[in-house]
């Protein structure tokens, strides 16, 4: 079984995953997102565009070594991303109902879903993202209508929230996520990237950045005042996201579906990207074997506690810088020039 994905499904899948990852990363997964997380999402999307644009040239002209190294980088990032998402799903399930259930039991459905999802292949994941995009819009509309009386636009001020440094730090993190999730899209099929691909990168970044910014802004308008700046536990941050202290509890259902839906699409996209890259690096491996390997590794990482470690937080902070630096080195060695000539 060959793992592959066509351009359009890849763009949809990446778009859904980028929006979910940035929202998740700058709200529930972030210790101190501040009120200006929406601004960080926009800046992050803008920062990622040149790096994503250069990715294509790296894969085309960077030579086999550069290409393999880069695939390895994206593979590691996607695998870690899958593990983080699986851990998020398990935490959410634990918080919402199953707090006394062992983490392995909580992870099991997510792991099975990931394996099933990868073996359906890339186009199915992309098609599912297309359908999810419509459901997402409908659910978001319902959520906004239900919570409309409780929004406080004044909580978006000051625009810079906790200050420039927080905004910049979060923007770099967001850019890192955009750059790694863009991997599904860059290394699709044979790794080539056509003219339309560049436009689609820009469009994907713009759309997913806008969606993430919108969600973060809506979240900021609902979050209780103590949320700003304080270092809170993951459970409390999720609680603040879902209940926010004011809307009736029984109206949470659309929010929960949105939350799980976004996480599952993110998991599918990242997991598939990891499996596809693994197969590209080891072409003799069957797609199902790659899917199994990625599922096992992601589950093991999620169970190990690595997803909540300081080391991972540090790596995420610098993944954008690593990706940009790598592209800059290839460019300095003439790769981009060669590509332009070609």
């Amino acid at each position: 079984m060959k793992l592959r994905v066509s351009p359009k499904p890849a763009a949809f899948s990446a778009c859904a995953a980028m929006a979910a990852r940035v929202f998740c990363g700058l709200s529930v997964d972030c210790v101190s997102p501040g009120y200006a997380a929406w601004l960080s999402a926009i800046i992050g999307a803008a920062l990622s565009v040149p790096v994503l644009w250069m990715y294509g040239h790296v894969s085309v002209v960077g030579g086999r070594t550069a290409r393999t190294a880069f695939q390895g980088f994206i593979l590691a990032a996607s695998l870690t991303g899958s593990a983080v998402t699986m851990a998020d799903i398990a935490h959410s399930a634990g918080y919402l109902a199953l707090d006394r259930v062992a983490p392995a039991v909580l992870l099991l459905p997510a792991a099975l879903a990931l394996f099933w999802c990868i073996t359906r292949n890339g186009d199915s994941i992309g098609y599912a993202a297309m359908i999810w995009a419509r459901l997402f819009a409908l659910l978001l509309l319902i959520v906004v209508i239900l919570q409309f009386p409780y929004y406080r636009p004044e909580w978006l001020r000051p625009i810079l929230g906790s200050g420039w440094s927080t905004v910049a730090r979060n923007a770099v993190r967001a850019a890192g996520w955009f750059c790694t999730i863009g991997g599904i899209w860059i290394f699709r099929e044979d790794g080539g990237e056509g003219r339309s691909g560049k436009n689609a990168i820009l469009l994907s970044c713009a759309v997913s950045g806008a969606i993430a910014a919108l969600l973060l802004a809506l979240h900021a308008m609902l979050a209780p005042a103590f949320y700003s700046g304080a270092a809170l536990s993951w459970q409390l941050r999720l609680d603040a996201l879902l209940t926010n202290g004011r809307t009736p509890l029984y109206l949470q259902m659309p929010m929960i579906i949105l939350w799980y839906g976004g996480l599952f699409h993110l998991l599918g996209c990242e997991g598939f990207a990891a499996a596809m890259l693994l197969q590209q690096m080891a072409p003799r491996l069957d797609g199902r074997v790659c899917a199994g390997a990625v599922t096992l590794c992601a589950s093991a990482l999620a169970l190990s506690g690595f997803t909540g470690s300081r080391l991972l937080a540090l790596l995420i902070r610098y993944q954008y810088i690593a990706a940009a630096g790598f592209c800059a080195i290839v460019a300095a060695r003439g790769g981009l020039q060669t590509c332009a000539d070609a």
Partner: protein, 500 residues
């Protein structure tokens, strides 16, 4: 002995009439099979023998247009008396042809044709004078509509093709006949509209039909299982209909219809998930009503899949998502029920399936009694005995109604299996389990294909389409061709799935 018969059935007939008769007598077991007839007589100065099976061939036609015509025919005047001469000069049958392959003649006789064997000639005449009894065209039984034609397909293939030709009176309507089944063959017809159907899809379906290597094929349901893209999928990827008007609308849209002998159904492909929610009413009613009905069916489908699972998960794990007053009612109603919610809902679900299945098999005369026993007495008794709570009866009843709102029977059975997964996962993991199941189902349907085309197109992948797929927009807006037709842009993935 059996090997010997296979050898006899191979090859071609000889010139010696007695040898040929002996051969066919053995092949048709005429020593023990009293239905086979070998009628010797003289025709145009030659000894001939008509071979047919009693009841399958029309004896009146044999007497009138074969025996009498043979007796009245004089000796040959222009050329030798052979099979071609008989067709040209003597036999007064519209559909007859020369044939020399023993297997083809044997299959023809078995399917109701009559064969004329001639002495001194190595060709036989095969005449289509089938005259077996068949049911007249009647009202549909499973796909009733309020507005629209009422007639349905019957078991006779010829009648079914005629019905289609009546609805689509176009010279471009092609009906390709072929036999499937290696031991007991079944006549199958691939019907399509030349100017609308995509030739690649037609070729693919033709290939799949020809590749069937099952020893026998019993009707359209077996054919569907043998040529579907994903035989392991829960949902069908081809659609069975008993309505000629619906099959005709598929043909006009560029889809292909397969008919089979003895099957009062047509099999349509390629289809999408959304075709499973369409009925003929949608087309005949005004667009506002058609759209409303489709939305109701979509809602019914969602209720059918998710409602019992949601009930289990909300009452077991997420009580904070239930408004307080309703939660109070549920708790009060469940106070005396000794079973956990999962057991309670499974008892009710399986009772419902039991009543449903019994209602399908039971004679019509006592069917209404079963309805009363099942729905009223059993339900009331179960609630009174505190086996189930009243609210659960409501949940299961609404779920059942949702399932019945889905027009396609096979599709609704697939939904029932999905529902069981949702119930079990919902009871184990709450909303998390339901979301996992929904995600996996979404992935599953997104990965499915019908004759190589995506099952959820034109929504995913997005394609420009006739606005009669998800909703039923005004008829004057439905000018764009369907994406699977010859004029559509989407092309099937080559050689996906295939015959088994």
């Amino acid at each position: 002995m059996e090997q010997n018969r296979d050898d006899l059935a191979r090859g071609e007939i000889g010139r010696d009439l007695r040898d040929n008769i002996a051969r066919f007598r053995r092949l048709l077991y005429s020593d023990i099979n009293t239905d086979t007839h070998f009628r010797m007589f003289e025709m145009a100065g030659r000894d001939v023998c008509v071979v047919y099976i009693d009841g399958m061939a029309d004896e009146k036609k044999i007497s009138e247009f074969v025996l009498r015509a043979g007796a009245e025919a004089g000796p040959a005047q222009d050329g030798p008396v052979d099979a071609a001469y008989l067709i040209r000069r003597v036999l007064q049958i519209a559909q007859c042809e020369t044939e020399n392959r023993v297997k083809a003649i044997l299959d023809g006789i078995a399917s109701g044709m009559a064969a004329v064997l001639l002495s001194g000639c190595d060709d036989a005449v095969l005449m289509d004078i089938r005259g077996y009894p068949s049911r007249p065209v009647n009202q549909t039984t499973n796909e009733s509509v309020v507005i629209g034609p009422q007639e349905g397909f019957v078991e006779n293939l010829r009648t079914n093709i005629t019905l289609l030709r009546r609805y689509v009176p176009s010279p471009g309507l092609i009906a390709e006949s072929m036999e499937v089944g290696t031991r007991v063959s079944c006549r199958v017809c691939l019907v399509y509209l030349k100017e609308a159907a995509d030739e690649r899809i037609v070729s693919e379906l033709r290939r799949r039909l020809k590749c069937i290597d099952a020893p026998s094929v019993q009707g359209i349901g077996a054919i569907q299982q043998l040529i579907e893209d994903s035989p392991w999928a829960l949902l069908p990827q081809m659609l069975q209909t008993e309505r000629p008007d619906r099959a005709a609308s598929f043909l006009i849209d560029g889809q292909i219809v397969i008919l089979a002998e003895n099957s009062p159904y047509a099999l349509a492909a390629p289809i999408t998930l959304f075709h499973q929610l369409h009925t003929s009413d949608d087309s005949f009613a005004r667009w506002q009503y058609g759209t409303l009905l489709r939305l109701i069916r979509i809602w019914g489908m969602l209720i059918s899949i998710f409602l019992p699972g949601l009930y289990v998960s909300l009452t077991d794990y997420h009580m904070h998502l239930i408004p307080l007053s309703l939660l109070g009612s549920i708790s009060e109603a469940r106070a005396n029920v000794p079973f956990p919610i999962l057991a309670e809902i499974l008892i009710m679900e399986f009772s419902f399936y039991l009543i449903n299945e019994a209602g399908t098999r039971i004679p019509k005369q006592i069917g209404s009694a079963l309805g009363i026993v099942g729905a009223l007495i059993l339900g009331q008794a179960a609630v009174s005995a505190s086996i189930v709570s009243p609210i659960l009866v409501i949940i299961v009843a609404i779920t059942g109604l949702g399932n019945y709102a889905v027009p396609d029977y096979s599709f609704s059975l697939g939904l029932i299996i999905c529902r069981l997964f949702v119930i079990v996962l919902g009871s184990l993991y709450g909303l998390y389990g339901i979301c996992v199941t929904a995600f996996c189902m979404l992935m599953g349907i997104c990965g499915m294909r019908s004759v190589g085309l995506p099952y959820v197109a034109p929504i995913a992948p997005q394609e420009r389409h006739n606005p009669d797929i998800l909703l039923r927009l005004p008829i004057w807006l439905q000018r764009r061709p369907m994406f699977f037709s010859k004029a559509g842009r989407m092309k099937p993935r080559a050689k996906q799935g295939g015959a088994r």
